[in-house]
């Protein structure tokens, strides 16, 4: 329960930050974040309440959420990338991940079990997306201050979350079937820590221009 509360507070802070900065959001796709974070928070709480009160598995909720979540990130990265070739790679990887997710639900791990393989594939693909963004920054020949770019903070948050969660989520079914983490403590520590890191970086991303301006004067 404590992990749920801490995780929710992290999203909530980021959600409020995205609303506060809504009108100043630049680039414009940043305005999608209040909706995205609101949706994520609702799903997290809804999933928890569903399993808590109905005493049923909530995995199917997260199976759907992770695909919706992935589609959101595909859209965001399409907006972020400058190079056409990178966009083509992104679309190819996205198509592969979505097809795989569908296949996994229909003929693989099923709808009511946690789709650990889908989760791993999505994490790997999102990691590649983040790395491609870093590569674009790496080869950019203009003078850039990363700290003033919201995209940089957001991608960094996403990068760390997926990097840190990939092992646990990849082995999720193995861990649960062998009852290696029955009380969910390890899961809580890893995922909540990564969540806090990710949402903190998102929050910095929403405010980064203002913060940097203040530091410069």
């Amino acid at each position: 329960m404590v992990y749920i509360i801490i995780g929710t507070i992290a999203i909530l802070i980021s959600f409020i930050a995205s609303i506060v900065q809504y009108k100043k959001a630049e680039p414009l796709w940043l305005r999608l974040f209040p909706w995205y974070l609101g949706f994520t928070m609702t799903i997290q709480l809804g999933g928890y309440l569903y399993s808590h009160f109905l005493l049923k598995s909530n995995y199917f909720i997260f199976n759907i959420q992770q695909i919706a979540d992935f589609v959101f990130w595909v859209y965001i990265f399409l907006k972020i990338y400058k190079t056409k070739g990178v966009k083509v790679v992104l679309l190819g990887l996205a198509a592969f991940a979505i097809i795989f997710s569908g296949y996994n639900i229909i003929a693989g791990e099923g709808f009511y079990n946690f789709n650990s393989k889908t989760s791993t594939i999505i994490s790997i693909v999102l990691l590649i997306f983040s790395l491609l963004y870093f590569a674009e920054l790496f080869v950019n020949n203009n003078r850039i201050n990363y700290f003033t770019i919201p995209t940089f903070w957001i991608c960094t948050g996403l990068f760390f979350f997926n990097l840190g969660s990939i092992i646990y989520l990849g082995l999720f079914n193995y861990i649960t079937s062998h009852k290696l983490d029955e009380d969910g403590k390890i899961y809580g520590v890893i995922i909540v820590t990564l969540n806090i890191l990710m949402y903190a970086l998102f929050t910095i991303g929403f405010f980064c221009r203002t913060i940097w301006k203040k530091m410069s004067y």
Binding site: F134, F138, N141, R143, F159, I167, Y168, I190
Partner: protein, 265 residues
């Protein structure tokens, strides 16, 4: 493998991955810091080179102006004066029917000599040190008035101070360019110049009541041929000043030149 051992492996691998990620980002930031430094130095060198080139170009231009001015004054002017003198000498020996024509020619010649002198004066950079910036600009306006096609006003506000010779010369040439543009393109009837010597900067406003133009369209064109407006912008940046040109088709043009005081730079 024991349960705890496996969990320890999971946590350790996760921690190592995150640390690797952090290291990767650190490398990226470090690389970017160096690259930014390199780009900054390159831009600085480029800008210095451009400034030097521009300055050299302006110096050559001023030298050319000076030579042309001296040529007009010493050769063409002298020759024309000699012609006028000869015509004066002919005065008593010609039939009355040609006399009228001769008088007209002498007047025309006198005007041409005066115009040439004015041109020679305005081309000569030494003219600026003799008359001062506002004196030089005022004389340019008087030349416009003399044509009979323009009504001009000239106002000076604030306590007049002197800028360096080079800065004043660049300012003067820009004002000349603006006035030339008015003559060539504006179809104006009035030209107003206001010089405002403020505490921190000198601002010169040149406005006309001509046909105006679409500034965005001109900027694109000038970018391509690198003349006129772009030239003025470059010159202004060389003396660390600014020029703003506001114009609407049908409503005239206002150009504002601003030059911060040298001590404030």
């Amino acid at each position: 493998m024991e349960k705890n051992e496996l969990l320890t492996y999971i946590i350790a691998t996760t921690a190592i991955l995150v640390l690797l990620g952090a290291f990767l980002l650190f490398v990226l930031l470090w690389y970017r810091r160096n690259k930014n430094q390199y780009i900054k130095e390159k831009q600085h060198m480029q800008s210095t080179l451009n400034q030097t080139l521009l300055q050299t170009r302006l110096e050559i231009q001023e030298e050319t102006f000076k030579t042309i001015s001296q040529e007009i004054h010493d050769n063409i002017g002298q020759a024309l004066s000699f012609v006028k003198l000869s015509l004066n000498m002919m005065d008593g020996r010609i039939p009355p029917d040609i006399k009228e024509k001769l008088t007209e020619s002498k007047e025309l010649l006198g005007k041409t000599i005066q115009d040439l002198r004015d041109i020679a004066r305005s081309l000569n950079p030494d003219f600026l040190s003799d008359s001062g910036l506002y004196g030089a600009i005022e004389q340019q306006l008087q030349l416009l008035e003399k044509t009979g096609e323009y009504k001009t006003t000239f106002n000076v506000m604030g306590i007049v101070y002197k800028n360096s010779q080079q800065r004043e010369l660049v300012l003067f040439r820009i004002v000349q360019e603006l006035l030339n543009n008015i003559i060539k393109h504006a179809e104006a009837t009035t030209v107003n110049v206001l010089m405002n010597y403020r505490v921190d900067k000198l601002s010169i406003t040149v406005s006309d009541n001509g046909k105006g133009f679409d500034t965005s369209a001109v900027q694109v064109t000038e970018k391509n041929n690198g003349l006129g407006m772009r030239n003025m912008l470059n010159r202004m940046s060389m003396i660390k000043g600014y020029i703003t040109i506001e114009s609407t088709p049908g409503e005239g043009t206002t150009s504002i030149i601003e030059l911060p005081k040298e001590t404030d730079l």
